[in-house]
């Protein structure tokens, strides 16, 4: 079977189009009329596109016999923006294993979150607005995933950022939420600047290459991934003259590209916005800040992988940043009190995992890429589940502080069970999905020749298990530590069912041969489970569990003692190494006080003052002219005589001259 037999592959654009349509419908028409209806329509639209997404994946997987790699197709594209010949930007749908995989993830999680929100957001004033923006986000994310060129990706990249901004700031009357939304937008915007510059740089370089290639370039445009991925183009780019500090446009561009990705995926040191983003409604955190948007950075790197691989040294940077973030965030996660923040840092750490995996491909074996996408796939499900579980807890107890909760397992048995499953999944316990993906990531690190990274990865696995078990125990075991958590009740069915669905996915996702599908040519095939990796990983996880159980399982005094023993290190971790404060200081003191304020002053005082000064000067001269009006008739006469003689002199001078 080939692609033109499949209606959905031909018309994959329908999948993003549906949420967009419902965004317009809900936002413009339904929202003012009937909020409930608006929510229902929004959820229905996304559910429909989810169904189409599964259909698409199903059809697409038929295109190649199991042995061969799956094809890359652009079944549909139209001209959108014509910069100039060779720099035309098309809107289109690029279908390859990675994008199809992401379509499934995005649509599914989004649909489930929509359904979940129907109950979770009930009674909110901005109900309709919420669903409209959620639709917009879904559309943008799908557009990002399906982008056939760098610019469409950037466009949707910005749109997801904007919708994330509006959703974080959903409760716009809460200063904290407003601040968080601003922070998220500005920090990611700063990173997007890198992406923008990368587009300019690569666009210009690729345009030159395209001009050199001449006819053989065909109709492919400079910024198409297809064009950028061509071997001859990559070779030409790699051999261009260096543009800055000995780096070619390719290297520099790829670094900037990664900066953009790091911003979206909240890599250190651009991670500060993600924990604050938890001010938004929990379902939003589940969808945007756990499952989909934050992985856009990983997806970008995976998408532009040929470029990064061709650029020397970039992948090493990716590896370093990813590894550090994984460890750093996991460590901080162990010390946070707010349930959602712990999950946020866990997300950071897992994203670090994915980047790490991508970074391991420097050696030439792109196995890490497959691993990263695989982990992205599984992580989406169990992390979304964790957030939705947390949401259920918040919904019931109206607090996320683990020290106020406790003993919820009796009041909320279903939530408890699902949360436990997700915890095990993320910790990487066989046979849950996390086990397999984490195994592949670590394997990639080991076989990629990065034993140190492998060791760190193991450590992170242990920490992951530790902080997850910590919150799990504090929330669901023991006795209620506050009044709020005493009278909680199980979440309504509309919230539990989506969680159930996610739980199923989180459980079985590991058995999907994702990494084989998405494998690039040249990926070393290693069948089955590599116990050399899985063994230590599982051991680390169990160790983490054990530690957490000992500290938080029974008498909490032990944990206090441990905290005391850690002392200063604990404080540093708890305050996230004061990085937010550093940023704040830079923004307030440097940007506003030292740049903006002086400029505003300079403008009013100096520049505008000069203009007023000219006016004043004119008036002064006028006063001078008036002052010459002494009233002395003979002075006037003398002037007149002088004038006459001056004319004589001028004539004389002119006469002598010519």
């Amino acid at each position: 079977m080939t692609c033109d037999h499949s209606a959905i592959v031909q018309h994959a654009w329908v999948i993003p189009a549906l949420p967009l349509l419902s965004f317009a419908l809900v936002g413009l028409v339904l929202r003012p009329l009937n909020a409930r209806l608006a929510g229902a329509v929004a959820a229905a639209a996304v559910a429909l596109s989810a169904a189409l997404g599964w259909w698409l994946a199903f059809d697409y997987l038929q295109f190649a016999p199991p042995a061969e790699p799956l094809p890359t197709l652009i079944p549909w594209q139209v001209e959108w923006l014509r910069f100039q010949d060779g720099l035309r930007i098309d809107a289109g749908t690029l279908l390859d294993p990675a994008s199809v995989l992401l379509v499934v993830v995005v649509t599914t999680v989004s649909a489930l979150v929509h359904v979940y929100s129907l109950a979770y957001m009930k009674g909110e004033p901005g109900y309709g607005r919420y669903f409209a923006v959620l639709n917009l986000f879904t559309f943008s994310m799908l557009g990002l995933v399906l982008a056939p060129n760098l610019v469409q990706m950037f466009v949707c990249w910005e749109l997801v950022g904007a919708s994330s901004f509006f959703l974080i700031g959903f409760w716009y009357d809460r200063p904290a939420a407003v601040a968080a939304s601003k922070k998220a937008f500005v920090v990611t915007r700063f990173a997007d600047l890198g992406l923008l510059l990368a587009i300019l740089l690569l666009g210009q370089a690729a345009f030159d290459v395209r001009t050199q290639l001449g006819a053989s370039a065909g109709d492919s445009q400079a910024l198409d991934f297809a064009f950028l991925g061509r071997a001859d183009v990559l070779a030409a780019l790699a051999h261009q003259a260096p543009v800055l500090g000995g780096m070619t446009a390719l290297t520099l561009g790829c670094l900037l590209l990664f900066v953009g990705g790091a911003g979206k995926s909240a890599m250190f040191p651009l991670h500060i916005w993600l924990p604050d983003a938890m001010e938004g409604p929990t379902p939003v955190s589940a969808l945007i800040h756990a499952a989909t948007m934050v992985v856009a950075g990983v997806y970008l790197v995976a998408r532009a992988f040929p470029l990064l691989a061709a650029a020397d040294g970039v992948l090493t940077v990716v590896l370093a940043v990813g590894t550090f973030t994984a460890l750093f965030a996991a460590a901080i996660g162990c010390t946070q009190d707010d349930l959602k923040r712990v999950l946020a840092f866990s997300t950071l750490s897992q994203l670090g995992y994915m980047m790490l995996a991508l970074g391991t491909c420097g050696g030439g074996d792109p196995a890490g890429r497959s691993a990263a996408l695989f982990h992205l796939f599984t992580h989406a499900f169990f992390k979304a589940l964790l957030f939705l579980g947390a949401g259920a807890v918040l919904h019931a107890a109206h607090t996320g502080d683990v020290w106020h909760l406790g003993g919820l397992r009796r009041k909320m048995p279903l939530t408890h069970a699902l949360f436990l499953l997700a915890t095990l999944a993320i910790a990487g316990i066989w046979p849950l999905s996390g086990f397999f993906s984490k195994d592949e990531v670590l394997a990639a690190a080991l076989h990629g020749g990065h034993p140190l990274v492998f060791a760190v990865g193991l450590g992170v696995a242990g920490l992951t298990a530790f902080y997850m078990a910590r919150v799990y125990l504090l929330v669901f075991w023991g006795e209620p530590r506050r009044e709020a958590s005493a009278h909680v009740h199980e979440a309504p069915l509309t919230m539990v069912l989506p969680m159930g669905a996610l739980a199923v996915l989180a459980a079985v996702a590991g058995f999907v041969p994702v990494s084989r599908w998405v494998a690039l040519p040249g990926t070393a095939e290693h069948a089955g489970i590599d116990w050399l990796v899985a063994g230590p990983a599982t051991a680390a996880a169990l160790a983490g569990f054990g530690a957490a159980g000992w500290l938080y399982g029974g008498d909490l005094g032990r944990s206090d003692a441990a905290v005391a023993r850690l002392g200063r290190l604990y404080g540093a971790l708890r305050h996230k190494f004061w990085i937010d404060e550093l940023y704040l200081w830079v923004a307030r003191k440097v940007m506003f006080r030292l740049v903006a304020a002086p400029i505003a002053w300079f403008d009013r005082m100096v520049v505008d003052g000069t203009m007023h000064g000219v006016g004043l000067l004119t008036r002064l001269c006028g006063a001078g002219v008036q002052a010459a009006q002494t009233g002395q008739a003979q002075a006037y006469a003398a002037w007149a005589l002088a004038g006459g003689l001056a004319v004589v002199g001028l004539l004389w001078a002119a006469g002598r001259a010519g």
Binding site: Q626, A627, G631, A637, L641
Partner: protein, 117 residues
């Protein structure tokens, strides 16, 4: 100039010296006399200097014609008219200000940028 005048009758230079002196004296007086009448007299000197110069040039440059002399006559007439007008104004001024000393007339001076006279 000197040479193409020298082509005329001798003594032209002398005449020109006279007229120039006359004119200069007039101008000097016009600029320095404080009494308006004195200024008027100085003006007459200037005009007469010009008139004389017309006659002289007539005699030297175009002895056949009389136009320079005619001009001189008209100058005299005009001068007379000028005196009449001037005197009228002096009288008016004296009746209003009790002075014809032009340096006392500092209307228009500093601070007169505004206000209706």
């Amino acid at each position: 100039m000197a040479e193409n005048l020298a082509s005329g009758a001798t003594g032209l230079h002398a005449w020109l010296l006279v007229t120039s002196a006359l004119f200069s004296v007039g101008v000097y007086g016009l600029l320095t006399r404080r009494n308006a009448v004195g200024i008027l007299l100085s003006l007459e000197l200037c005009l007469n200097a010009a008139a004389v110069q017309f006659v002289v040039f007539n005699a030297v440059r175009a002895p056949a014609r009389v136009d320079g002399a005619v001009m001189a006559l008209f100058v005299v007439a005009v001068a007379a008219a000028e005196v009449v007008v001037a005197m009228a104004i002096f009288v008016l001024l004296y009746s209003r200000r009790r002075t014809v000393d032009v340096t006392d007339l500092t209307g228009d001076g500093p601070g007169h940028a505004g206000g209706a006279p």
